[in-house]
Symmetry: C2
């Protein structure tokens, strides 16, 4: 029989990621195309010990159904960390546990978007968000990013002429660009939105990964009642447990909780308990310092190799996170570089899927967290061979 799917799924953007994953599975390829944190930096011993504790303490509770909002000690830890790190008056009842912050994208769009509603995005914007939001059939308004954040003129114009239900941004070490909003730009955006009906959705997957170890004040600091922050343990402890959270005003969180309950009742309770135990018995700050020192070196190495080996290419210089974006020399296309790269056993991610309104053909995204220094060195030499070879044609 022929199945008649909903309009939303018929119009889902064809995901390039399937091809990418297939291609990158070849172990002889050095891949900068993915988005994995370093497996080597996962504290497997610490998490294993926490798991043992949970199985010793009260495994029947950890393995039973639980409440939709999430494990209270974990929500309290998250709220306390906001208060301590950022001086933001978060409380546990403003925190909802989810299956990694990707689920925030789905549920937030679900509670806010009717088909045809407008959503503001950075240009380029995060692919996972574009995929999640697209299923609710919005109209995207893309605001170009400059090195300090969303272009203020375009942002103001959007606010006045085509107001959006919410604006989705990644102020800290943005994916894919690697850029971080300046503090002034955060204030400017908050002022621009203050008093409008637009919510600012701050995806903060990377805020703990600044190379200088210093936290940046979120947009929410300037716009407390009108913004939400999604957070994730994937980059600072382990992605495989799929635990993230939404931090939002209680009115939003109440609708969000209804959607979460309908979506899957609650997140994995065993792992919520393991993670909470891990955080109680280990110093997350010390662990994060270790991650940051490795990513910082890997990022600098990648940038240096770009400058040394591919001087005709320009690239962003991240202050943190896991990604940077490079702009190819005139005449080169990202798809050429991707395909030729695969032939030379190095994978990069073409920039087009990050552009909701087209473009990006001359950009590639590179991940520097999941390849060690030797691999980065070898991979960048391979990439230089590709880029410089294609440039000469």
């Amino acid at each position: 029989m022929a199945f008649t799917f909903a309009r939303r799924i018929q119009h889902a953007p064809a995901s390039f990621l399937g091809e990418l994953f297939r291609v990158s599975a070849d172990p002889s390829i050095i891949s900068f195309a993915g988005g994995l944190p370093s497996s080597g930096l996962i504290d497997t011993d610490g998490i294993a010990a926490a798991a043992r504790d949970v199985f010793t303490a009260d495994p029947r509770s950890a393995l039973q159904y639980s409440t939709t909002d999430g494990y209270l000690p974990l929500r309290e830890y998250i709220a306390e960390r906001y208060r301590r790190r950022l001086g933001i008056p978060a409380t546990a009842d403003e925190i909802q546990i989810v299956n990694g912050s990707q689920q925030c994208l789905d549920l937030f769009a679900k509670i806010f978007l009717n088909p045809g509603d407008r959503v503001g995005m950075e240009r380029p914007g995060y692919l996972g968000a574009i995929e999640a939001f697209s299923l609710y059939e919005p109209v995207f308004e893309a605001v170009p990013l400059d090195p300090d954040g969303p272009d203020p003129v375009a942002f103001t114009k959007m606010t006045k002429e085509t107001p959006v239900k919410f604006f989705y941004g990644i102020p800290n070490s943005q994916n894919p660009s690697g850029c971080t909003y300046s503090q002034d730009r955060r204030e400017e955006i908050a002022e621009c939105l203050d008093g409008t009906d637009t919510v600012f959705y701050e995806d903060d997957a990377f805020g703990e990964l600044f190379f200088d170890g210093k936290p940046r004040l979120p947009v929410k600091h300037y716009l407390p009642g009108q913004s939400v922050i999604s957070g994730s343990f994937s980059k600072i402890t382990a992605p495989g447990m799929r635990i993230g959270w939404m931090y939002a005003p209680t009115e939003i969180l109440s609708a969000f909780n209804t959607a979460k309950q309908a979506a899957d009742l609650h997140s994995n309770f065993l792992c919520q308990q393991i993670l909470a135990r891990y955080l109680q018995t280990n110093d997350l700050d010390t662990h994060i310092k270790k991650i940051v020192s490795v990513y910082s070196r890997q990022c600098r190495l990648m940038c240096d190799l770009f400058d040394d080996l591919m001087p005709r290419l320009s690239h962003t210089t991240p202050e943190g996170g896991m990604f940077l974006t490079a702009t190819l020399p005139v005449g080169l296309s990202a798809m050429q570089v991707f395909r030729e790269g695969i032939g030379h056993k190095v994978a990069v991610l073409p920039g087009m899927p990050f552009f909701v309104d087209g473009g990006g053909e001359d950009t590639i995204r590179l991940n520097f967290s999941n390849a060690g220094e030797d691999q980065i060195n070898e991979g960048m030499h391979r990439l230089a061979g590709v880029i410089n070879g294609l440039s000469r044609i």
Copy 2:
């Protein structure tokens, strides 16, 4: 600021479950209102041992990101079990891992429903499905259940006059009624749907829990290309890991997978590995026999106590599962019994939320899996006090 939520969430049915959970948290109350499997029957030692094995073998992989479809050995186990138990030619590429079968409800509705599309439901129908589907703004068509399954006349009428995108049913030990479709009714329904554009969605949360230990052939056996089955480990291993699956034709599964990726990338990989290891090193059949023998005794005790203590009330007599439904004597309302019950420290679930088109005011659902025999005995005596007291008024 005032937030303008999407239409779908503004119209979400007010969940009665919140009040219920608050009320049932009082430890002095004996609750038959919830839907938990027995904590005492969770094999905590076996799962702890499996967890130790996973942390010993390759914890970096278990804690890293993984693929959307799910852990292959787990999908192979599920497919092999369908082949062995039911003689159905399932393969791993027809299985998608999800966060408990509740997530199947959300994602299935997401890929099939445009607002206003029709969905067929049993009357009474599963509350969790009503909540999940409602967010996609369908029109529900309710087909009354008789003891053998959906009423065939009403089912045929629906198929001809108000055809639905899919019909959602629980043929095995239905929630809330406790009824099981007869084999003839399954065939009849399959014949009725064969060649139409309606998909049969078979929620099989309880198919492993028949008291006689005998599997029933699913509707999918008679309608292979036009039906899907959702399954869950929550009732046969542990709910806290939130692992279930969708078994569907690959064309449906491909769209389902797209929605799953957008929703949360993939399900908890650590627990997928723990569960797969557990299933490789333990005999699930033996474990299920233990569960079934306990639930069977508890169910019989509850039925007997109804007959002995509350003869004016009628009730279903389940062949398996975790629930039964009772119909109150004329003149009594479920809300009266619920409220008076709380006063007498016994909780039951009023039937109304299971009726998409109103009704059910004279029905209550009782769970018999999560209270031991002593509790059932004491709780049913309390309930008899309530029922018989109210009947005399």
